[in-house]
């Protein structure tokens, strides 16, 4: 990029939202033909920066330059017209529309004001071909396609435009294997055409492999930038978090002898296997490993009284618990679900209301809500869990992923559970907040709570668990004690290759 004017540059961007300074003087410069990685924890300001660069949001201070000229986008249409295209983290593929209509969204080709279907198909085919979806049926509705295909359609839509800057906000978060590879191929070929690419990802190995340059955002500022060769993964993490994160997984304290939950012959609804026998001790952390669809989530839900049972018994503290959510919650078994935004939180309510959602009886006095008590409850949890919010009244939807997860935890912890079930506790949460969640889980266990969590992240399973159960095809196919746990062994069991237990 020697001396050349960068295609897209942002200088000293500042953006304030109620209670949060999302950007605090952040800059980035991206040259033609370069892949510029933008990394940072959740809440560091990456998405806000993207929204400003694409005209979705206007900056309170600072400027955006295109080819060295200051530009001010009044909306996404102006940014698109100037050649700044983005693929957003939240998919904007419309489920009810066809593949063709989705690719051509916002860039219809018409002749004498009538849709030019031949041209539309040609453009869409070409763009889809570039992302490796050359043979998809253009008439199919997007909702019938896999998440990966929808992500690729989103990218094809961007490629169909005359674009000079392509911003990809976590395009690979939902992808694996071949789809991931094809996105990497696309990014490389797009950059080779001279397009400036800004690439946002949490997968730092991926960033190392793909990017030429990297900018690290922390707390709304660009704390570090340079050629990727100068950054190994630990250095990026250090810059992102502002400290070393090596002691993520200390050895756990030994668990107690008391059996908190015992499960006998348990078969989740629709399961005709032999049933699961399992004992969970006070202070124990058990990891559930397995591929997606292996039955991890179903097992957790059955523990939590959700989804029904085909047979078997669950007892907590020696007393049998009937199937049903309320019975489970009364017995002290609670589940922090994977889809926290859908199942775990009322995003439109203030944080205090979510914190007390499950324990509202303790807040109310004779049916009347005691605001002071509720606020106190919020303060307690904020302190205990380190929730970062502007105050009890901030809307939960405005918090970062990690903080939202803490709110879900707070909600259940206030019910004083004996068994805490977590489904993908750190999905979509950045490195720093992950470490906090791990420490929290450890601490809760140390206080005597029993924890069962399911995760796709093997590092997490191996590092956090005292015991690991491996699921496959709806059954628990393997049990490993901490000293025997290794990632490879788990994978073999999960896939059903090699020696099964």
């Amino acid at each position: 990029m020697s001396g050349a004017v960068p295609v897209l540059e942002a200088r000293g961007l500042v953006k304030e939202f109620p209670g949060v300074r999302a950007l605090d003087g952040a800059s980035i410069a991206c040259g033609a033909g370069h892949v510029h990685a933008l990394v940072g924890e959740n809440g560091a300001g990456k998405s806000t920066m993207v929204r400003i660069l694409t005209g979705n949001e206007s900056a309170d201070a600072g400027e955006v330059l295109l080819d060295g000229q200051v530009v001010r986008f009044g909306g996404p249409r102006e940014a698109l017209a100037a050649g700044v295209t983005a693929v957003y983290q939240e998919l904007t593929v419309l489920p009810a529309m066809s593949v063709l209509d989705n690719v051509m969204l916002g860039q219809e080709r018409t002749r004498r004001r009538v849709l030019d279907n031949r041209e539309r198909r040609r453009v869409a085919r070409e763009a889809l071909g570039r992302v490796g979806l050359g043979d998809v049926d253009l008439g199919r509705r997007a909702e019938d396609l896999s998440l990966a295909s929808r992500q690729l359609i989103e990218i094809a839509r961007a490629l169909a435009r005359e674009t000079r800057v392509l911003i990809l906000d976590e395009p690979t978060a939902v992808l694996a294997g071949e789809a991931l590879e094809s996105i990497h191929r696309v990014v490389r070929s797009v950059a080779a055409e001279g397009i400036a690419v800004i690439y946002i990802s949490h997968l730092l190995e991926e960033v190392r492999e793909l990017a030429d340059q990297v900018t690290v955002l922390r707390d709304g500022k660009d704390v570090s930038t340079g050629p990727i060769a100068a950054y190994d993964v630990p250095k990026m993490v250090r810059e992102m978090v502002g400290r070393d994160v090596d002691s993520v997984f200390p050895d756990p304290a030994p668990h107690g002898e008391e059996v908190v939950m015992s499960v006998a012959g348990l078969r989740p609804r629709g399961d005709d296997g032999p049933g699961l026998d399992f004992e969970l001790h006070a202070g124990e952390i058990v990891g559930l490993a397995g591929l997606l669809g292996s039955g991890r989530t179903r097992l957790l839900r059955t523990f939590a009284g959700d989804g029904g049972r085909s047979g078997g018994k669950i007892a907590v503290g020696g007393r049998e618990v009937r199937a049903g959510l309320h019975a489970a919650i009364d017995a002290g078994v609670v589940l922090v679900p994977e889809e926290r935004k859908v199942e775990g939180l009322a995003l439109g309510l203030p944080v205090r209301a979510n914190v007390t959602l499950a324990s509202i009886a303790g807040i109310a006095r004779g049916g009347w809500l005691d605001r002071r008590r509720e606020k106190r409850a919020y303060e307690e949890e904020r302190e205990r869990l380190g929730i970062r919010a502007s105050g009890p009244e901030q809307l939960t939807g405005q918090l970062s992923g990690g903080n939202q997860q803490k709110v879900v935890l707070a909600k259940w912890l206030r019910t004083r559970p004996r068994v805490l079930l977590l489904d993908e506790p750190t999905r979509g949460i950045d490195v720093g907040a992950k470490a906090e969640i791990y420490a929290l889980i450890r601490e809760l266990a140390a206080q005597g709570m029993a924890v069962v969590f399911a995760s796709s992240d093997l590092t997490e399973v191996v590092g956090l668990s005292q015991r690991v159960l491996v699921c496959r095809d709806g059954q628990v196919v393997g049990r490993l004690e901490r000293e025997d746990v290794d990632p490879e062994g788990i994978m073999h069991m999960a896939f059903g290759t090699g020696a099964a237990a």
């Binding site: 996404p76 698109l80 904007t92 009810a96 969204l105 998440l147 694996a176 992240d457």
Partner: protein, 327 residues
């Protein structure tokens, strides 16, 4: 940092031909229509398949069809227009008063009244897209306002349309009422708009997810304004047809049309959340209502049961057709 394992995206596998899909395509409505026609044929073929009865069914479709087709465009954007009945009332009344029996005024007044309908739409569109008021609230307000203006003008039937206009509204050739041409033209125009222009794609996109549409460069404001303009224009056309049929203007002519129109759209398989639905389905819904309305004499049922039966049909349609994953 993390050994991400098995983050394979869940392939959403659905049967290709599920029932909600059929309902959404509008086909299901036509199946019900066909069943009803079959039933009426079996019941009384000689009574049902007369040119007079067919003409009655088609005539009953015209006014409801015009407002329903317009309503459909708005509903596809995720909105709703509760004012179409009042708009039809007011525009019909104005047409009758302004024409007042003078033949040379007919054409300019019709054009002026259509323009008023379009203007009402512009107002709706701007309040909804620019001021960002909810469509329900905006059009609930104009539902009262337009009706109120009509009552301000007169509390009893007044004005007069020309002979030609009323003849056009009432005459028929065989089983074919001439007024039906208006509906055919309207459906053809809206179909062209929805399926052959960029505006049509944008209507579906805005209804599907307006934020996604906006960030991909879809002009959301103008799309919404156009949708409400089409709806207002067709409501005015319906008003003119009402006045033409009655030969005079009435301050209550279009009452209740808005709810019938919404019902026809919903029965036709469109989602009130927007983004899903077809014009074919809506026309089917209109035909279904016209059949029910005209069948009372044929079946020797009290005509006063019309509303009751309509309501039951809506609940049945909703229970059967509306898919569970409706968001």
């Amino acid at each position: 940092m993390s050994t991400a394992v098995a983050t394979t995206a869940r392939a959403r596998q659905r049967p290709r031909l599920d029932f909600s899909r059929v309902a959404r395509s509008g086909l299901a409505t036509w199946i019900v229509v066909a069943a009803l026609v079959l039933g009426l044929t079996v019941h009384d073929a000689s009574g049902f398949w007369t040119t007079g009865n067919i003409a009655n069914v088609l005539t009953a479709m015209v006014v409801l069809g015009l407002v329903s087709v317009g309503q459909n465009v708005v509903v596809l954007t995720g909105g709703i227009d509760l004012s179409v009945g009042s708009a039809a009332t007011l525009t019909g009344l104005l047409a009758a008063i302004m024409i007042d029996g003078y033949p040379e005024r007919a054409i300019p007044v019709v054009i002026a009244v259509l323009a008023i309908g379009a203007l009402i739409g512009v107002g709706h569109g701007l309040l909804i897209a620019r001021v960002k008021l909810p469509p329900f609230v905006v059009t609930l307000a104009t539902f009262f306002i337009l009706q109120g203006v009509a009552f301000m003008i007169t509390s009893s039937p007044t004005g007069q349309v020309t002979k030609n206009l009323s003849n056009f509204a009432l005459e028929k050739t065989g089983f074919f009422p001439h007024a039906f041409i208006v509906l055919i033209v309207a459906v053809a125009l809206v179909a062209f708009l929805l399926y052959r222009t960029a505006l049509g794609r944008n209507v579906y996109a805005v209804g599907g997810d307006s934020e996604a549409a906006r960030s991909n460069g879809v002009p959301v404001t103008s799309t919404l304004v156009w949708a409400y303009v089409v709806c207002g224009l067709l409501a005015a056309a319906a008003g003119i047809m009402l006045a033409a049929r009655a030969t005079i203007g009435s301050p209550t002519a279009g009452q209740g049309l808005e709810l019938s129109a919404i019902a026809a759209v919903v029965i036709g398989g469109s989602s009130l959340m927007g983004g899903r639905g077809t014009l074919v389905g809506t026309v089917g819904g209109v035909l279904l209502f016209a059949l029910i309305e005209t069948s009372f004499t044929l079946l020797q049922i009290e005509a006063t049961l019309n509303d009751l039966i309509r309501g039951l049909v809506i609940i049945a349609a909703a229970a059967i057709f509306v898919s569970k994953d409706d968001r």
